[in-house]
């Protein structure tokens, strides 16, 4: 392939008058013949994929993954746990697979990044140096955004928008709820992680209630006018769950202005809504380390070069997944993993002083409206004129008015998707 040693490349680039940022940033380490070092922060859909695929692209790259948890619990399919269809074990993945690929997995928390010195500081002390850093921190919450809902409140009124103990808490509360009770779910404003997630959660809770608490009600208080896959979800709800679900959008007093945890009440401009179980999903921003390291802008998310996902703020740091501004790609696990593969390819080239290459992206998201009723959305993206653009004529939703057989096959593919993507990332 087009391999060329750094000295020749630099000489050539200079001689040809090409101002080549990537050639200069390759670092002295490479010239000295040592392995390039890439550090990845975060072992979720983005980070774990980046670590594994970097090793696949070039086993000569020294890859360290920094992740505090000993296993990863996926948000995708966590709604099946909340709906009583799966156990937590089904959505929990160890890092043994990554170790087998030669990734150095360090279970610690990254507390800071020194972009000048190219090093990451760890909670348990010590620093890890890098030639290139990939940051995939997911989301954090704007705890100050809605009166009455902070980190402490989430210990009684779960958000369950980061999978793990929050998922278990919401499941246990739903199990303990009496038949005839009211479950209130309040999704956040845009942009947020997994746009079709609330619709799927509403669906799978309804599926659980239908079998076990048939007199229960679900109230949805949405601060937006519409939500992802709305037409398909509403079509499914009408055919499967009758009048169990009441959806109120922004124009119908759906915007929650205050959370009264003591009285289990969500206040809106014109009403008070009391629930037996409440799932409040707060507004979001890029994960904590992105904020601490100054990788986010005023929007709370991280601006990047959409070809390489290198930060527009700090050089040699690539931000991928939910935390990055990758629009028009949605904040999904699939997007994060797909960006990670393209960025791993680019970084594997960049650390050798080669051109990063051109990416192309896909997003595919399945949602379950019931265990045997699936729907999907997909989109293909090109990198053109310096940004990510949808490929005209590609992508879109499952057709409306489809047969039961079609929905059954999409539900089967949803499970096949989960099995494949989790194996592709952590296997």
């Amino acid at each position: 392939m087009r391999k060329i040693d750094r000295r020749t490349f630099t000489k050539m680039a200079g001689a040809a008058g090409v101002a080549s940022a990537f050639a200069l940033s390759a670092g002295a380490r490479v010239a000295l013949g040592k392995s390039p070092r890439v550090v990845v922060i975060g072992g979720g859909f983005g980070g774990a994929t980046a670590a594994k695929y970097l090793r696949r692209f070039d086993a000569g790259i020294d890859v360290t993954l920094i992740e505090p948890e000993s296993a990863f619990v996926t948000c995708p399919f966590s709604n099946t746990v909340i709906g009583g269809l799966n156990s937590m074990a089904r959505i929990t993945h160890s890092y043994d697979g990554l170790r087998a690929h030669g990734v150095n997995v360090v279970h610690d928390r990254a507390t800071g990044i020194d972009a000048g010195k190219r090093s990451v500081s760890l909670a348990n002390g010590g620093d890890v140096g890098y030639d290139r850093l990939i940051v995939s921190p997911g989301i954090s919450f704007r705890w100050d955004a809605i009166e009455g809902y902070g980190a402490a409140t989430s210990q009684t009124i779960p958000h369950a928008w980061q999978a793990g103990p929050q998922t278990v808490m919401l499941r246990q509360q739903l199990e303990a709820m009496p038949d005839g009770g009211v479950f209130i779910i309040s999704p956040p404003v845009n942009p947020f992680r997994c746009p079709p997630g609330p619709g799927e959660r509403i669906s799978l809770v309804a599926n659980y209630f239908k079998k076990h608490k048939p007199r229960a009600k679900i109230l949805v208080l949405d601060p937006k006018e519409k939500f992802s896959k709305q037409g398909l979800f509403k079509e499914g709800w009408a055919s499967l769950y009758g009048g169990m679900i009441e959806y109120r959008n922004a124009s119908n007093d759906g915007t929650v202005t205050r959370v009264d945890a003591a009285n289990m009440t969500l206040h809106t401009d014109f009403g008070e809504n009391k629930g037996d179980v409440i799932n409040f999903i707060p507004p979001q921003k890029a994960g904590e380390i992105a904020q601490t390291a100054g990788l986010a802008n005023d929007s709370g998310w991280c601006p990047v070069n959409q070809q390489t996902f290198e930060s527009s703020i700090h050089p040699n740091i690539h931000v991928i997944g939910d935390a990055s501004i990758a629009s028009p790609m949605p904040k999904s696990g699939f997007s994060a993993s797909n960006q990670a593969k393209a960025v791993a390819a680019a970084v594997a080239n960049l650390v050798k002083g080669e051109a990063p290459g051109t990416p192309k992206f896909v997003n595919t998201c399945y949602s379950l409206v019931a265990p045997d009723y699936g729907i999907s959305v997909a989109m293909v993206y090109d990198f053109a004129d310096g940004k990510i653009v949808k490929v005209k004529g590609s992508g879109g939703l499952s057709p409306s008015g489809a047969s039961a057989e079609f929905h059954k096959s999409e539900a089967r593919f949803a499970r096949g998707w989960y099995d494949a993507i989790s194996q592709d990332i952590w296997g």
Binding site: A342, A345, A378, V380, E410, Q423
Partner: protein, 99 residues
């Protein structure tokens, strides 16, 4: 000697920036890696999705074209295939297909 040096430099430049317009195309590896999210790493599916690793390149290319033109049943693949050009389909089929 001068002319020879110039020729060498040209050759190196061509090596580093291969074939002009083609440098803007995603590599076959980048194209094929996307498929692994649903079809498993290297096309070996662990679940309900079809495996790709035992299919021939020509079968994969033909099937993608049939999805793209809606000649075969509508799954998510009909919507995804519409995002790929003939050249991209051929490149990724070659990369994915049975060796």
């Amino acid at each position: 000697m001068k002319a020879k040096g110039g020729l060498l430099l040209t050759a190196i430049v061509l090596l580093a920036f291969p074939v002009g317009a083609l440098a803007d195309e995603p590599s076959p590896t980048v194209l094929a890696n996307t498929c692994f999210s649903c079809h498993g790493t290297d096309g070996k599916s662990p679940g309900a999705m079809p495996s790709l690793d035992e299919k021939s390149a020509s079968y994969i290319a033909q099937t993608l074209r049939e999805f793209r033109s809606d000649e075969i049943e509508n799954t998510v693949m009909s919507r995804i295939a519409k995002g790929f050009s003939d050249a991209e389909i051929d490149a990724l089929a070659e990369q994915l297909g049975r060796k």
